[in-house]
């Protein structure tokens, strides 16, 4: 370093968060005794405008060239102070923060001891800041398009917002149709809007929007790159139906030799479909798909003399020669909207799901009450072999939610209300029916929820506080064994049908998505947001955002709100057309790098690769860091046996004096 270091040390009281436990005045006096320190000040809120002004003025007046701020964790305010010293004409990376709040005042009670520790932390920061090098953040071009994975309501909404703003959107959906879970629902709580009526227009828009490229029946196979420059590979699975020729007339499905033999995924197995099928009549795109697992021709190689679907198709769209197709494109941002699965009710064997046909799940109930459902909206179930219209119906709440016995501790947030809604629909359709709801607590927290819950109770639905212990069959009735915990009465209620309010679970294939995008999980296994409060739609990886239930259970309005949030965050790099790359990245010392690739395997951001370089005529491999991807986490450095890769600002020669100043080293 050519210029002599002139340090300013700024000590924050953080109201009384720090000053109550640390003697800030003594700390300030101590700081002045440290080498190269010209100025030391303390102030009540260093991050406030007057606090930052103190620093800026001193830089100008005293010619300070290195700044130490002793305050909170750098996570929150490092960017703040970097900006302020940059405004005063200093390199923003000539800053070191001593965390005397989280790592000192908040965790200690003894003022004397805490002050000693704060002094050490400040001394350590002073030791390091003198050795920092000037760094420059860089900007790279960003691709002005977005990839959205999953075309449920979250994915569709985010796609429409981004597309409306004028950016290209690639909307990739795994199943043959967009719509997701919301398309399966009948009415939506608490307003009782018809789910299809509010969703289908959006589904159509997502297919017709000039800026949206809808890719259905496809899976994202590879994601490389970084914010602004993701390189994506998508596998379009073979539909065996020519997408452009298919008119959606459905002749193939009626002609199919195995017509209506297979459980319909869309109807949750309550209805049947053919081997060639449209998931539901309002599906978008309205193109048929041949299921390779059920089609006779595709499984056995033979379907009568010739496949009937191909014979009847006027458009000649059936094509058994079709193969998977790989599509590649670039995107500047990614939104993950992969949705949820419902809890598998066989995990609670005491409720008899899978054993008695008249014990069904909430999602199955949605299909049953839906006018487009397998029964045309008539509520009827099989009781043994006999089809009945149930007269006594019971709902059981919290099946696979708030239940440690099945490993789910969280509340699924929608079951109380969808149960109330379904109870209402039953009362509406079967006015004579007796409806009971067994619950632990009713969580009616949203707008209009409590009012709706009240309305349902006034309609005659009986709420019984107590989770049933068992359901068994007696005669042709199902018996629910429970205890009304409000009156401490044991109950044995006989009913015709039981609806289990199953909770929400991460999708069964969440691990694939997680590995594909290197996402993290929260303890409930849903994808983890970057910050639970302030960055709820971001992930730890820049440019990848979360929307909808893949991040945690939520209802439709919350999902739409989050999708809009994710869309607006994703549009930032798209609108700017540029992304800033942090400067504190790892650097490789190529002369000593032995090219073993340990860092390549360790890097959680895939930011390192081995490249071949010419060393005096010999071609050797060395590690190279993609600065746009690197977060400066330092994992590579920990794994490097020859100490040849280190993050800038955290080099050994900068950290070791810092550690030494703490009194650990001689």
């Amino acid at each position: 370093m050519t210029e002599k270091p002139k340090l300013g040390v700024y000590i924050c009281h953080c109201g009384i968060n720090i000053s109550a436990t640390v003697d800030v005045e003594a700390l300030t006096e101590y700081a002045l005794t440290l080498p190269n320190v010209k100025v030391a000040r303390h102030y009540s809120y260093m991050c406030s405008d007057p606090g930052q002004l103190l620093i800026k003025n001193d830089i100008k007046a005293e010619g300070l060239n290195r700044i130490v701020v002793a305050s909170c964790s750098p996570r929150m305010h490092e960017p703040t102070f970097r900006k302020s010293i940059q405004a005063a004409g200093l390199n923003p990376y000539f800053l070191e923060m001593a965390n005397i709040r989280e790592q000192c005042s908040w965790v200690h009670e003894d003022r004397t001891e805490a002050t000693i520790k704060a002094k050490k932390l400040v001394a350590a920061a002073v030791a390091k800041v003198r050795l920092l090098e000037p760094l420059e953040a860089r900007e790279v071009e960003a691709e002005r398009s977005a990839l959205i994975i999953g075309a449920g309501i979250a994915g569709i909404q985010a796609a429409l917002d981004i597309a409306d703003a004028g950016f290209k959107v690639y909307l990739v959906e795994k199943s043959p149709s967009v719509g997701g879970r919301m398309a399966q629902l009948d009415k939506t709580f608490p307003t009782l809007d018809c789910s299809a009526c509010i969703l289908t227009p959006k589904m159509v828009d997502s297919a017709n929007h000039p800026n949206i490229e809808l890719i259905t029946y496809a899976e994202v196979e590879e994601v490389k790159g970084y914010i602004g420059n993701f390189e994506i590979k998508v596998r379009k699975k073979a539909r065996y139906v020519d997408f452009d020729k298919c008119t959606g007339c459905g002749d193939c499905a009626s002609a199919c030799r195995v017509a209506n033999r297979f459980a319909s995924e869309f109807d949750e197995g309550m209805g049947k479909r053919s081997a060639v099928y449209l998931p539901f009549p309002q599906a978008v795109p309205a193109k048929y798909t041949i299921d390779p697992k059920s089609c006779l021709y595709l499984t056995k190689g033979k379907c009568g003399k010739a496949p009937k679907c191909a014979e009847v198709c006027g458009a000649g769209a059936i094509n058994f020669e079709q193969t998977d197709e790989l599509v590649e494109f670039k995107a500047g941002a990614i939104i993950v909207a992969t949705g949820f699965d419902v809890f598998d009710a066989t995990g609670k064997p005491e409720y008899g799901y899978g054993q008695y046909p008249n014990v069904i799940t909430g999602l199955e109930m949605e299909r049953l009450v839906s006018a487009s459902g397998p029964t045309g909206g008539k509520i009827k179930v099989f009781n043994g072999a006999e089809e009945i219209v149930p007269q006594e119906i019971a709902f059981i709440q919290c099946v696979g939610s708030r239940d440690k016995s099945v490993g789910v501790e969280y509340c699924s947030r929608v079951c109380c209300m969808y149960t109330a809604k379904q109870a209402h629909l039953i009362v509406d359709k079967l006015p004579e029916a007796k409806v009971r709801v067994y619950y632990m607590d009713v969580r009616a927290f949203g707008k209009g929820f409590e009012e709706f819950y009240d309305r349902v109770r006034r309609e005659g639905v009986r709420y019984i506080r107590g989770n049933p212990s068992e359901i068994f069959k007696r005669g042709n009735k199902l018996v629910i064994k429970a205890e009304d915990t409000l009156t401490a009465t044991p109950l044995e209620d006989e009913v015709d049908m039981v609806v289990l309010a199953v909770g929400l679970k991460p999708r069964s294939d969440y691990r694939t998505t997680m590995e594909l995008l290197r996402l993290s999980q929260s303890p409930d296994q849903f994808f983890l947001e970057a910050h639970p409060k302030l960055r709820p739609v971001d992930t730890a990886t820049d440019g990848i955002f979360l929307a909808g239930c893949c991040q945690g259970p939520k209802d439709i309005p919350d999902t739409v709100a989050q999708a809009k949030g994710a869309a607006s965050s994703a549009m930032i790099p798209l609108a700017k057309g540029k992304v800033t790359i942090g400067a504190q990245v790892a650097t490789v010392f190529e002369a000593t790098c032995r090219g073993c690739g340990f860092c390549v395997s360790i890097c959680p951001y895939s930011a390192i690769e081995l490249v071949t370089v010419n060393r005096m005529g010999h071609m050797i491999e060395v590690a190279r860091v993609n600065e746009a991807l690197c977060k400066g986490c330092g994992s590579c450095s920990a794994g490097c046996l020859s100490d040849s890769i280190q993050p800038k600002s955290f080099r050994d020669r900068q950290i070791l004096p810092q550690i030494a100043a703490l009194g650990v080293l001689r």
């Binding site: 340990f598 005096m616 005529g617 050797i620 100490d643 020669r653």
Partner: protein, 326 residues
């Protein structure tokens, strides 16, 4: 092992256009000594041997080769290096491949199934060596020693190297040409040497290592003979920051040996070269074998076995039991 076949194969290999030279074993200058033989011409293959004295792990020479600057415009020699490997040596080569220390197309491996080599130091202690060259042969439970026209049968276990008593991989795990018949893994004895140190009280164990490390001369022979210490510039040699001071004393010696042991965690293939070459007889094998066993038991990882495996220190399993984390 048929020496004629070995020499003939070596001569053929060296004559190949795509082979630069062959590294094998040849008799050393006296007694029990065996030296690495660098064979560049077919005629020189006549000097090669393979006997229970061939303890040297030749894999070390793959990465030791100096790469001199090439004149502008000339291409580097891309020919292979042929290497004779025992079971343990082959694991070193495999680990080097996994760690990208060498490329598969850079080596041609001649595998020599190995019934176990001798501990040369132990041998010369029990059967003092003379200046004249000695020949040692495998013969069932015995080694046959021929020296100065005399033949002596030596009970195998009395002079067998410690690592061979624990050997689980006597046959090369990777090779292009295999000489001789596969050998059965003879003994998978309990590692009594490690157990002995483990059984010590903490204080006694510290004293044990203090005793040994204090004797270290810091000649770096252990590091230089190690096939897996192939960094171009060892961190322990650096001055800024100085991880290990130049001073030869207990503290710095310990730092050196502990750092080296940790750099070998999940990489050491237990060839025992470090211990064999140590002029102070420090039982480094015990240190490395202890860590190798921990890795095997705690993580189910064994280096130098799986050509498609990831380096242990760069691996991560999401379902790691992490039993040791409280």
């Amino acid at each position: 092992m048929d020496l004629d076949k070995l020499r003939k194969t070596a001569a053929e290999v060296v004559s190949r256009d795509d082979v630069k030279y062959l590294i094998g074993w040849r008799p050393g200058s006296y007694g029990y000594r065996v030296a690495p033989g660098f064979v560049e011409e077919a005629s020189a293959a006549e000097t090669l041997i393979f006997s229970p004295l061939c303890t040297i792990n030749l894999a070390t020479y793959l990465t030791l080769t100096e790469k001199l600057p090439l004149p502008r415009g000339s291409a580097p020699d891309q020919r292979k290096v042929a290497l004779m490997v025992k079971g343990c040596d082959s694991r070193a080569v495999l680990q080097l491949l996994v760690e990208k220390g060498i490329r598969r197309d850079q080596v041609l491996l001649i595998g020599c199934p190995c019934p176990g080599v001798v501990d040369t130091a132990l041998l010369s202690l029990k059967y003092p060596e003379t200046e004249s060259p000695a020949d040692l042969k495998w013969n069932g439970d015995h080694f046959l020693l021929r020296q100065d026209g005399q033949e002596t049968a030596i009970p195998r276990l009395s002079v067998l190297a410690e690592k061979c008593r624990l050997c689980r991989y006597p046959n090369p795990v990777i090779s292009d040409i295999t000489l001789g018949e596969p050998v059965e893994a003879q003994l998978t004895a309990e590692d009594s040497a490690v157990a002995e140190v483990e059984a010590m009280e903490l204080g006694a164990r510290a004293a044990y290592w203090e005793e040994w490390f204090s004797r270290c001369l810091r000649c770096y022979a252990c590091r230089n003979s190690c096939p897996l210490c192939y960094c171009r510039d060892c961190v322990l040699d650096r001055l800024n920051p100085t991880w290990v001071n130049r001073a030869v004393n207990f503290s710095e010696n310990t730092a050196f040996h502990v750092a080296r042991a940790f750099h070998l965690v999940g990489r050491c293939i237990e060839c025992g070269e470090c211990e064999r070459v140590c002029p102070a007889n420090i039982p480094l094998g015990r240190l490395n074998r202890k860590l190798a066993r921990e890795v095997r038991e705690q993580y189910g990882h064994e280096p130098g076995i799986d050509p498609d495996g990831k380096p242990f220190q760069a691996g991560f399993k999401p379902d790691d039991p992490e039993e040791f984390i409280l």
